[in-house]
């Protein structure tokens, strides 16, 4: 089985007419056919649509028409992004069979850049979870060890990239849902600054935290996708009107050399405390030494509100989710209970039957947090903590350029290991949640393997709209190491 080339290589070769997009697409579909049955990364393949797109790109190349920076690159898309082709289920039974009449801005931008979307990937239902075991359909397995979870909620996208099905995929990150599965699957995952990428067509979970971002085999490919995805979208009021830098150009040798020396890497003590797996800590600390060897300086920083982040996150995210998910009621679209007695029964039975247990738990938690008499005590207090976390980062970035630490406290855990204990599951996001609360960008990249051969992720966090430096730091490390060249299976 061939490993795929990078997105950058494919796009260059297809654009130059050295390779046909259709051939690239068929190869990807072949790799998927060989191993997706075991891994279950995809909820649905959109092969017909993908081949049509690929053929169209080939025609453009032959005709000498301009093609985009992702010409012919096979991409997988998390199934909480709306697509007019295939279904959009969010991994939920309540949206079984749902077809969106429009495509998400992120999807439109990818396709406009020439990407060939081969399928919709599995996720924890409505992106609520850290293992993809909460999918309403089936769990996805980790390509490095199929007995283990790929992380979540973008577990399908991370597994698809790690298994070599596609060079890149789209995920969404509300509390770590791109970075944590990227870490557990040994790939690169980037959560952009809140507002950098349009959320239009991303099915909302926690609207003030959600952000669409890329997962890819390399930092350069992540940069390539980010450049395509970024920019103001008039359909999303929270998207920001800020110039999109040349992310990929910033990764060339000259600009990289310019930033390596004097790069200040902040190391927060709070990210190396109790609960951190020893092998993970070892790998991350080794990575920090690599940065030192590259000319960077390590700086001790403090993020004192880190312990409160999980509580604040589970109030803000669930409060917003309780509103966002109210629309799934069986009245207008999606699943409807077959024999409702009256309208109240239609609502409650549809939702009881259509939602899985974790989604129900979070809706109830969020509804409670917004209830009269509890609003100030929970929701408002969480917003105050959120502001304090933002202040923590602002203060830390006075002393450093990026903050480094582990992405996940542990490598991939076994399927079923944590499903009985939601609190244990929530801890998987302990290092990733703060970036969503603060709105800052963060990237996870491979930084080693456990003795059992499981990938370990290094997380770098940067200031608002600091994606360029984040990618440069990640690329500096990647260039000095070879973790990213290893492939699962």
């Amino acid at each position: 089985m061939s490993t795929p080339d990078t997105a950058a290589t494919i796009a260059a070769e297809v654009a130059a007419g050295r390779r046909r997009a259709e051939e690239v697409c068929r190869a990807a579909l072949g790799r998927i056919a060989a191993r997706n049955g075991e891994l279950k990364a995809f909820l649905e393949l959109t092969a017909e649509h993908a081949l049509e797109r690929a053929v169209a790109i080939d025609r453009d190349v032959v005709a000498g028409r301009p093609v985009g920076p992702l010409a012919g690159v096979p991409v997988a898309v998390k199934d909480n992004l709306c697509t007019t082709f295939g279904h959009t289920t969010c991994g939920s039974r309540i949206l079984a069979g749902y077809v969106s009449p429009y495509s998400a801005t992120a999807v439109e931008r990818l396709e406009a850049a020439g990407a060939v979307i081969v399928g919709k990937t599995n996720l924890d239902e409505f992106a609520m979870g850290s293992s993809t075991e909460n999918s309403g359909y089936f769990p996805t397995r980790n390509p490095w060890d199929p007995e283990r979870v790929p992380g979540g909620s973008s577990g399908g996208s991370a597994a698809a990239v790690a298994a070599g099905f596609v060079p890149a995929a789209l995920g969404s990150d509300t509390g770590g849902s791109i970075r944590q599965p990227a870490a557990l699957c040994g790939v690169v995952g980037l959560k952009p600054t809140y507002g950098r990428v349009s959320r239009y067509g991303l099915v909302a979970y926690g609207s003030s935290l959600d952000q669409v971002g890329p997962l890819a085999g390399t930092v350069t490919d992540a940069a390539l996708l980010l450049a395509v995805l970024s920019g103001r979208d008039p359909r999303d009021s929270t998207s920001v009107d800020q110039a999109v830098p040349d992310y990929r150009g910033a990764l060339r040798d000259a600009p990289l050399a310019a930033v390596a020396h004097g790069l200040r890497i902040g190391v927060p003590a709070e990210y190396f405390g109790a609960g951190l797996d020893a092998e993970t800590e070892g790998a991350v600390r080794s990575a920090l030494r690599v940065f030192e060897q590259l000319g960077a300086t390590l700086v001790d920083v403090t993020l004192p509100r880190t312990p409160q982040a999980i509580a604040a996150y589970y109030l803000v995210a669930t409060a917003e989710a309780s509103g966002n998910l109210a629309r799934y009621d069986g009245v207008h679209y999606g699943y409807r209970t077959p024999h409702p007695a009256d309208i109240e029964d239609l609502y409650s039975a549809t939702r009881a039957e259509g939602f899985g247990p974790e989604v129900k738990r979070r809706i109830m938690l969020g509804t409670f947090a917004l209830s009269a008499g509890y609003y100030d005590r929970y929701y408002n207090k969480a917003l105050r903590v959120r502001r304090l976390i933002q202040e923590d980062f602002t203060a830390a970035f006075d002393h450093c350029d990026v903050v480094a630490g582990p992405t996940s406290p542990t490598p991939a855990f076994r399927l079923g290991e944590r499903t009985a204990d939601p609190l244990q599951m929530y801890l998987a996001d302990v290092y990733t949640i703060s970036a969503n609360l603060a709105g800052i960008p963060a990237i996870s990249l491979p930084c080693g393997f456990t003795r059992a051969g499981l990938p370990i992720g290094l997380q770098l966090q940067g200031p608002l709209f600091g994606e360029t430096l984040l990618l440069q730091a990640a690329r500096l490390y990647e260039r000095a190491t070879d973790w990213h060249t290893r492939r699962a299976g």
């Binding site: 998400a104 959320r199 917003e320 009245v331």
Partner: protein, 494 residues
Amino acid sequence: MVQVCGLDVEPIIGLEIHVQLATRTKMFCGCPLEFGARPNSRVCPVCLGLPGALPVINRQAVELGVQAALALNCSIAELTKWDRKSYYYPDLPKNYQISQYDLPLAFDGLFEFPIDDRIARIRILRAHLEEDAGKNVHDLPGCSGIDLNRAGTPLLEIVTQPDLRSADEAREFAVQLQRLVHYLGVSHADMQKGHLRFEPNINVRIHRDGQVFVTPIVEVKNLNSFRSLHGAIAYEIPRQVEEWLATGVTAATGNKRNRGWDDTREVTVPQREKEEAHDYRYFPDPDLVPLTVQAAWVAELRERQPELPLCRTERFISEYSLPPRDAHALVEDRATADLLDHAAEAGGDKVVLGKHFLSLWARFANERGTTIAGLRISPGRLAELANLVATGRINATAAAQVAEAMLANHDAPTVLAEELGLMQSRDTDRIAAWVTEALAANAAAVQDALANPKKARAARGFLTGQVMKLSGGRADPKIVGELIDRALAERAGA
């Protein structure tokens, strides 16, 4: 204070009014606002509440909201935000309504209007923007349907303080508000299409034996006519007194009740409600960023604010010498009222313009099924015609003929009057000839005019009439009068 069941009763009434704004598109999406379109044909992912869709604020809705709020003398918020109001209802696609909770667009206003020879002053608590829901359709065979064409329609919700004291006053408030928003162009204000909906909050203070008892507040939902608003309040006042006499229940936290209005029986009826109090769980909508309302923009809107109908009516009465009823009717149609002002600004005689607008122009507009503004005659031409009359160059009958000609072609009134031969003749030689002819033919009248004090006035008038007749109505009456006087004086002296 009114008397009910022999008790002194003071009604306390506040109003919530939903005004549908006259925007081109919906509050948070680009769907056109259209009444009576095929069900679910004016919808998109945003107003359908489809997964992944996001709202975007309609700037025009904010602008219209600010205009209405300024006319209600409200303060405009510098920072206003959007909140989700959660409740499950089939015509509410997201199961939350985007509204404004603790930072409304406008607040602390005052609306004044005349009623019964006094000025009512009603304080406005707040005015905020929100989206309308769709409509449940129950007349389908065997099932209910939902039409979401209306979903997402921009509404301005205006809330008064409980300053109204009678059904009459509440109705007059509503009438004047309807007039105002229509006049400002903020709303089409079509009552038939439900553009204004009223929800009065009513209770009464009962005075007995030096003590005051306050009945529980009743909110009557969804009234869409002035008649039902008046009826519901007029019905509630004695009903609440009777209920209090029967039960002794007074206002307390949690005993506010909703009632509906039965239009055929003309009574309010209790509405079926869930046991628990509604908890709408308001919270800031994370999909919309808070809106900073620029002070300069508000100042600009304030600057552009037209003269409001009540002031304008008063001015029309004094400036154009219009009867109050006619002034009121004229002001209703803002374009026509503007045209009148523009014609006056163009130098037209105000009193004659006023007369022309009430009589001849109004008649032509009626005949053609349009408004005076709809006749599309320029202010300059209107002024010119008025001045031809005011300076005596044509008479009123001629003015009507000229006006009719003005509707048919674009020539100036003076040109038309000349072409039609309607211009008063100022040729004193010709007029003098007509005078000589008339005096010669009517010796008896001349005699009366000269020597019979009882008949002199009438005789002189008769002679004037004869001269006008000879001139075919074209002689300038002023010159005719002068020449007759001179001729009579000559004969007296001879």
